[in-house]
Symmetry: C2
Subunit: 426 residues, 2 copies
């Protein structure tokens, strides 16, 4: 079953709304009807609150108060982001029954843009995992094969968009948690530059790397949402985009690499040691994540899903000096990336080096699953630069993502490159 929003862009919806061919209330109904409980994309649905918001959106539009591209659009929000009056469950028994008192700052941006919040999407427990199948509320399931993981941690958001339940969702991305499920589910996901979206009201994973990002069917819709939420004008499209292929020196499924590379033929190749960036990422993320959870591990370890608890205990043993050294090495890597992004506008590589794993799978042909999943995405959290995953075909019937990385302040170049590629693919 494909939901209503499959194949409908934000631009389509906006035109229909403004032409009176549909209404926010009708779009909300289509969203609610499209929710397929078997895919477990939603941890909570707010039919009532959403109906009120849709009504307001319709009244405003009728009165000529147009809030822009997201006005009246149904949106889903990852369940580590507070929405006032709704549960924030974090995918964890620790937060069972917890209801948020206030909207997160990024949710306020959504509301100011006129979006209609449909509900909260399933997350890997505390966003601490890239497979999306470890959660107190169960795994989110890949629409392309429900036996397979969505990827994570923003798995529910990716599934909700990929299955056409909503045209847009918010996620969080600390090491790839927006881009990875976007790639594995065959949609687009955008993590802007570090700090672009405020993280107040978002449960922290590793504050040095935590980003809020958007998931939508296409790069164009990610761009539309990004512009609407940041309120920034779109600069003119660049005439020329200098692109390079990044050889990250990381193990990859050869067919995945080939599929992505076929979408970007004839690029110059730059070797960048992404393994070093992943080590930096792991040391910093683990120390910061354990700081967030130390008291909870002490007090009520049993409430964690066992894989999360294992991971946290290992994270707690990261030595302080490794953290200090990683902070230093992060600066080196960030400088190297800045240098590369001085010579090229956009760097291209696969988003994930493999296709969607089976639910419960912990290993892969490339080694332990978790580090393999983030190996190509986390370096851009380390560097804090904008990174976008777009659909790049299929391997063995499963979606594959291409990742485009650019400079902060040159997001329009990144989006232009992505849209040209999509256009050339037809």
């Amino acid at each position: 079953m494909k939901g209503f929003f499959a194949g409908r862009t934000l631009a389509d919806l906006g035109r229909d709304l403004r032409a009176g061919r549909t209404s926010a209330a009708a779009l909300l109904e289509r969203a609610l009807e499209s929710i397929d409980p078997d895919l477990n994309a939603f941890a909570a649905v707010d039919a009532e609150g959403a109906a009120a918001a849709a009504r307001r959106a319709d009244e405003e539009l009728a009165a000529g108060a147009d809030r822009g591209a997201l006005h009246g659009v149904p949106v889903a929000v990852k369940d580590v982001i507070d929405v006032a009056g709704l549960p924030t469950g974090m995918g964890s028994a620790h937060f069972a029954g917890h209801v948020a008192a206030e909207d997160a700052a990024c949710v306020r941006l959504l509301r100011e843009a006129g979006a209609v919040i449909v509900g909260k999407t399933t997350t890997h427990e505390f966003a601490y995992g890239a497979s999306g199948d470890v959660s107190a509320t169960g795994p989110s399931r890949n629409p392309h094969d429900p036996a397979r993981a969505s990827g994570g941690s923003s798995g529910g958001s990716a599934v909700a968009v990929a299955a056409g339940m909503v045209p847009l969702a918010l996620g969080t991305d600390t090491g790839g948690s927006v881009r990875i499920p976007a790639a594995l589910c065959g949609i687009a996901g955008f993590k802007p530059a570090f700090g672009t979206f405020p993280v107040d009201g978002v449960f922290p994973l590793a504050p040095s790397f935590d980003h809020v990002g958007v998931l939508a069917a296409t790069a164009a819709d990610c761009r539309t949402a990004y512009r609407a939420l940041t309120g920034s004008a779109e600069p003119p499209a660049p005439r020329e985009v200098r692109m390079a292929w990044v050889d990250g020196m990381v193990p990859m499924d050869a067919q995945v690499e080939e599929a992505v590379r076929a979408s970007f033929p004839d690029l110059p190749v730059e070797r960048v040691d992404l393994r070093a960036a992943r080590r930096v990422f792991a040391a910093i993320q683990d120390a910061e994540a354990y700081d967030v959870h130390a008291d909870r591990v002490e007090r009520a370890a049993d409430l964690y899903q066992p894989p999360t608890l294992d991971r946290l205990r290992r994270a707690g043993r990261t030595p302080g000096w490794r953290y200090v050294r990683a902070v230093r090495e992060r600066e080196d890597f960030t400088r190297a990336v800045a240098d590369l992004l001085g010579r090229y506008d956009v760097l291209v590589l696969p988003t994930v080096p493999l296709t969607a794993p089976l639910i419960g799978q912990r290993d892969s042909d490339l080694g332990p699953l978790q580090p393999a999943l983030v190996s190509l995405t986390c370096p851009w959290n380390v560097a804090g630069v904008p990174a976008l995953s777009i659909p790049a075909g299929f391997v063995r019937g499963l979606p594959v993502g291409a990742q485009l990385v650019g400079r902060a302040g040159a997001e329009h170049v990144l989006f232009a490159a992505a849209e040209r590629c999509a256009a050339s693919r037809g």
Copy 2:
């Protein structure tokens, strides 16, 4: 034996120099004669280089080129600070025979101010200890009782000044390493605000807290050196100085506390939990120190003095999440100090809660010696604010220091408070 410079201020020396009653060359000779090898203040003396510098200083003065208060003044430099062409031994067998290629940035400031560098002063190994008696070149000895430690880690610098070998010395202060030996040797020591003096060319201990500071007989001489090296003009003396006594909730020798308090009677008392600041300090210092030393511990552990190696190994086990939490708690403490320094101009407390321990002593009536020694000084490294230790009498025949803490940018208030106190003591 008291050296030539005992009882002579920088102002005295400057007047004599400019009146032609002495010369830089003569002052250097007095310094070299005053060096008492039994006190082990110097790790290296540069008679030849110093003679050349003194000659130049005399020629310049004769030609009317006056570099100011430090022109022609013999100065000693702690042996973790690079002086081009001289050994930087770090008090460690690891750096035996190591000769610095370039001047540290703070040494360049000394030279630009016309100072004559006499030699390098004994340091606690790698500046990683506050007793000053753990060093490949042996302990520096307290001039008030050579069986006792000078305090550290800038022990040799304090001894050189206290015994009248030089009127001024540079030290480094990560948790009190300028102020502690100053207090225990009966002189003044000033750690300016974090970042005031550059640390390039200074061997790091814990970069978050590393400061360069000055040691001299009196607060007035510290002020003179501070002004000369920063090139900053002296603002007019404040009319009123609001002072408070800090009750740091830390164990103290009652007689030490009484002696310091007697110098500052009738101050309002503010309770500040300095124990929490010490825990923050320890977590950050230990993780950063081990980062600096990890490869050396791996490669050649045997070259460390055993107490240093023990300490490093313990430091290496500081968990990363404790470091992360300490960085966060540091912000809280820094804010609390800023609040207090909004209500008062100067905070007063003892510099060290006890008097000079015996050489080799590792324990004290207040618990393990090392944490006791830094308990009252390290909080001001955590907060990064200027702190000055001044002589405050004697207990059981050993010197005691009063510590004055102020706001960055209001150093003149700190010095004014110290000089008024000294004047009132006569």
